[in-house]
């Protein structure tokens, strides 16, 4: 994107009489720069929304039974054949919406964790929070509360989600302790995340060893994240929590912006750093926990989406968060569609695909640090 800046003393820049132009140049240049930035943000925002819509429509159309795009639109509007309506409304749409909301939630949680911890490598998966949430959900299953995705009418799913959240908070708490009392570096945090992640993965394996066949199946389901089992109610519940989380971070966006300047500066500007850090991580963990307890571990969406957006629009939280949500949703829908079709009729769990996608980016970030900005 071309960004010509007005240079002082460049006679070509002044159109009006010399003196007033000189007086105004500073502010004018600032405004001009701001207009460019705003345009860019709007362009990226509308572009990614368009991509999300197209990817979602394509995801509804593509599958074992192909529904032409025109019929998809017709079915969504209440027309089309009964079969098409059934496929679109009962099979494809909940899955697609589930993917969008789960992707958005993980992406927002990832962006928030990166900001709160001032760590570009932070994400639910890399910090071991996803694994912890899955372990918590697995414990609830083995204790006989059923899986979150199966019986939403009963108390089971809520308990599973609560268990996932509590386990996620164990992981989160450890990270907060390291950041607050040990001033841990980004690398330390990620290494801790690896250790915590392995610990909870080992815990899951242990549970599987002692669990019955059905329970094993339910637990394995969490280790390979899959958006396919989310029904309408799950989608609605996830949407509510993800939207609430996003709203929290948007309301506090300015505070989190200031936090990136460092603890001393943020405190000098009246920002309560410690409490915002705890609250931010708790909200991000809650969003992670609800997504994971419904769709299982889906790695790297929380890492990839925020970085794509940071590259495109820069670091302001107010812009970063909503666009990250859209990009995260689009990413997961696209990945899920690919996972459903690449080895058709075998339907791959999308978690496998996102790992293939995210792992190279993670390695790239580790090697290149922040140079790509």
């Amino acid at each position: 994107m071309a960004s010509e800046t007005v240079r002082d003393g460049d006679p070509g820049q002044y159109r009006r009489s010399e003196e007033p132009a000189r007086r105004q140049t500073g502010r004018e240049t600032v405004r001009e720069n701001r207009t460019q930035t705003t345009r860019r943000v709007y362009a990226v925002a509308s572009g990614s929304t368009l991509v999300l819509l197209l990817a979602s429509l394509a995801a509804i159309a593509i599958g074992s039974v192909h529904v032409p795009l025109a019929d998809v639109v017709a079915a969504l509007a209440g027309g089309g054949t009964p079969t098409q309506r059934a496929i679109v409304w009962n099979l494809r749409l909940p899955r697609v919406l589930g993917a969008v909301v789960a992707g958005a939630g993980l992406a927002v949680a990832g962006a928030a964790m990166q900001t709160v911890l001032r760590n570009p490598l932070g994400a639910p998966y890399t910090l071991g929070i996803s694994q912890a949430a899955a372990f918590g959900a697995a414990v609830a299953v083995v204790l006989g509360f059923g899986s979150a995705a199966s019986e939403l009418g009963s108390i089971g799913p809520y308990l599973t989600t609560v268990a996932a959240f509590l386990a996620a908070m164990v992981s989160t708490g450890l990270i907060l302790v390291l950041v607050t009392y040990r001033q841990a570096t980004p690398e330390t945090l990620i290494l801790t995340g690896v250790a915590v992640g392995s610990l909870f993965t080992a815990g899951m394996t242990l549970l599987q060893y002692f669990a019955s066949d059905t329970e094993v199946a339910a637990i394995v389901y969490w280790t390979f994240g899959d958006v396919g089992r989310a029904g309408w109610m799950h989608v609605a519940l996830m949407t509510a929590v993800v939207a609430a989380g996003l709203a929290y971070f948007l309301v506090n966006a300015w505070n989190y912006d200031v936090m990136d300047a460092g603890t001393a500066t943020a405190k000098s500007l009246g920002v309560p750093v410690e409490s915002l850090r705890v609250r931010g991580m708790a909200v991000a963990s809650l969003v992670t926990a609800i997504v994971i307890s419904f769709v299982g571990i889906i790695g790297f969406v929380g890492l990839v989406a925020p970085h794509v957006v940071r590259m495109l629009v820069g670091g302001t939280e107010r812009h970063l968060l909503p666009i990250t949500a859209v990009v995260g949703g689009a990413l997961l829908v696209a990945a899920d569609t690919l996972a459903r079709t690449v080895l058709a009729p075998v339907v791959l769990p999308v978690g496998i695909l996102t790992s293939f996608l995210g792992a190279p980016l993670f390695i790239y970030l580790v090697i290149n640090g922040r140079e790509y900005w």
């Binding site: 002082d8 502010r27 240049t29 600032v30 460019q36 930035t37 300047a261 460092g262 000098s268 009246g270």
Partner: protein, 275 residues
């Protein structure tokens, strides 16, 4: 606006950093905070606006106890420029200076905030860098951006932690000039921690010499004598006069540790500071 510090004490755990610090600064006055590394300059600055909570003593800003002020209100009154900072993520000049409006704004920056940022960017001559990433700027420009972030909230007390230590000669003068002008023109109370005795003697109305967490001496630049410099820094120096200003020429490190610098002998011994 005045700043009044009474019997301030602060310790990191068991390690006492500041003890019985008494200090006042008037509005329109730039007070230099001098002292060797580890003498407590940064800690003192950060104890004034509760980045660190003091263990004892009171800080009064225009008669109000800082400990009883709401943090947002305190942030409106006291601006702070850190010695060094490294954001984890890129932020433009505009966004960074906008951070300084946080204590004034609601949940999102409004028109008044944006106008204030535009004014500050213009004042600091940074307009051409508005959308540039702060991390890509030169050290001098970065320091101006941080100064801008503190000034954009129009605080009545300005705390600066070694604003010139990483800058080249021209930017050292530029930044001190800017700070001095702002303090005098706006009737702000300025406190600047600084290493360069000549910059301090030139730009500060008064200086306070810190030694081992206590105030050794306070007064006009004329408190910078060979005796006080030897006592506080452990350095032999000659003071000359040049066009009505004090010029401090450092000669050598004092081999025999004096009373005040006894605790600092050892690793610092034999290190020459020549300018």
């Amino acid at each position: 606006m005045t700043l009044d510090v009474r019997d301030l004490a602060f310790a990191y755990g068991d390690e006492s950093v500041l003890e019985g610090v008494n200090l006042t600064a008037e509005s329109g006055e730039l007070l230099g905070l001098l002292g060797p590394n580890g003498s407590g300059k940064s800690t003192l600055l950060q104890s004034l606006n509760r980045i660190h909570e003091p263990d004892a003593g009171t800080v009064l800003v225009d008669g109000d106890r800082v400990s009883e002020l709401d943090r947002t209100e305190l942030a409106r009154r006291v601006g702070y420029v850190p010695q060094d900072e490294q954001g984890a993520f890129p932020a433009t000049v505009y966004e960074t200076i906008l951070q300084g409006r946080r204590p004034h704004g609601g949940w999102s920056p409004g028109r008044v905030d944006r106008a204030a940022v535009e004014g500050t960017i213009e004042q600091l001559d940074l307009a051409a860098f508005t959308s540039r990433n702060v991390a890509d700027l030169s050290g001098g420009q970065r320091q101006k951006v941080r100064l801008g972030r503190a000034l954009v909230g129009d605080p009545s007390v300005l705390l600066l932690d070694e604003p010139t230590s990483a800058l080249d000669l021209k930017h050292q003068l530029d930044v001190m000039e800017l700070v001095g002008e702002h303090v005098r023109d706006r009737g702000v109370t300025g406190i600047v921690a600084i290493h360069d005795l000549n910059l301090a003697a030139r730009y500060c109305d008064r200086v306070a010499l810190l030694s081992n967490g206590e105030i050794y001496d306070v007064g006009g630049p004329d408190v910078l004598t060979p005796e006080t410099i030897r006592a506080v820094y452990g350095v032999e120096a000659t003071v000359k006069h040049h066009r009505g200003r004090r010029l401090i020429v450092t000669e050598r490190s004092a081999r025999t540790p004096s009373v005040a610098s006894a605790a600092h002998s050892g690793p610092d011994d034999g290190r020459y500071c020549t300018r």
